[in-house]
């Protein structure tokens, strides 16, 4: 029998690893990889809480499905932005994307 805590601890660890990736990576594509890890951790939590705490409802499942759709949209727009910036500035390093800085 797997207690709920295992899922929560796993999700917390995955989220922390993703956060480290977002904060420490220089490459913008790698930052988006970290964001994907964090979204997955959130989804695990949603489904684990649904299964352990409210299996008769559908709220957790519906929420997780919306997160999937948002993740797909986020990655499509994010990568399009990165490719566009790469075309103009020949760089994918997040530090060098300072067009909007003043």
């Amino acid at each position: 029998m797997i207690p709920l805590s295992w899922y929560l601890i796993f999700a917390a660890a995955l989220f922390s690893i993703g956060l480290f990736g977002v904060l420490a990576r220089k490459n913008a594509v790698a930052i988006l990889l970290g964001v994907e890890l964090m979204l997955n951790a959130a989804n695990i939590n949603l489904l684990a809480f649904w299964r352990y705490r409210a299996p008769e409802g559908v709220a957790g499942q519906a929420f997780a499905l919306i997160v999937f759709a948002v993740a797909a949209a986020e990655v499509a727009v994010g990568l399009a932005l990165i490719i566009s910036i790469y075309r103009r500035r020949k760089s994918v390093i997040a530090d060098e994307m300072n067009l909007l800085k003043w």
Partner: protein, 170 residues
């Protein structure tokens, strides 16, 4: 001897190890491939949660679309950072400290929560969570508006991605 906890530990360990490789791999294509392994581990956990539909969606959407998109993006933005120079910020130890602090904080909250060790309740006799979800997504009393909004969001993201990434004609 229950076999499910063993499967959980194996899947979780593979996922976390692959996730560490995702954030540390020098080559971005390798990082994207490690991400695929992480996503497979998470899909296995969905199966253990008896959310088989989400395991399939995870494989189709995340591995089939998102990870492949990452590999394309890594290849289209090559040359610049490929294998040369540090991939991590100079301040990466600070980031590691923040991540560890977040993990410790989450653990502190979780251990003080009484519901931590709740066992998995059995699904009701004859219950079909997938059927319930499908009905709820199209029922006006439940989630039809968020569901339609998600579709609109996907269309908007698709149009936006094409517009932003398009080669500009002078």
């Amino acid at each position: 001897m229950d076999v499910l906890p063993i499967i959980f530990v194996i899947a979780a360990a593979i996922s976390l190890a692959a996730a560490v490789m995702v954030v540390t791999a020098r080559n971005l294509v390798h990082a994207a491939l490690w991400l695929i392994l992480t996503l497979f581990g998470v899909a296995a956990l969905y199966v253990l949660l008896e959310a088989g539909f989400f395991a399939v969606v995870q494989v189709v959407v995340y591995i089939g679309a998102i990870a492949i998109l990452f590999i394309f993006a890594a290849m289209l933005t090559r040359r610049m950072m490929q294998d040369t120079g540090p991939q991590l910020h100079k301040a990466w130890p600070l980031a590691a400290v923040v991540a560890v602090l977040l993990f410790a904080g989450l653990m502190a909250i979780l251990v003080s929560w009484p519901g931590m060790d709740s066992a998995k309740p059995a699904l009701a006799e004859g219950a079909d969570p997938l059927r319930q979800l499908g009905l709820a997504l199209v029922s006006p009393d439940a989630y039809v508006v968020p569901f339609q909004l998600a579709s609109v969001l996907l269309v908007a993201a698709m149009v936006g991605a094409i517009f932003v990434a398009r080669e500009k004609n002078p």
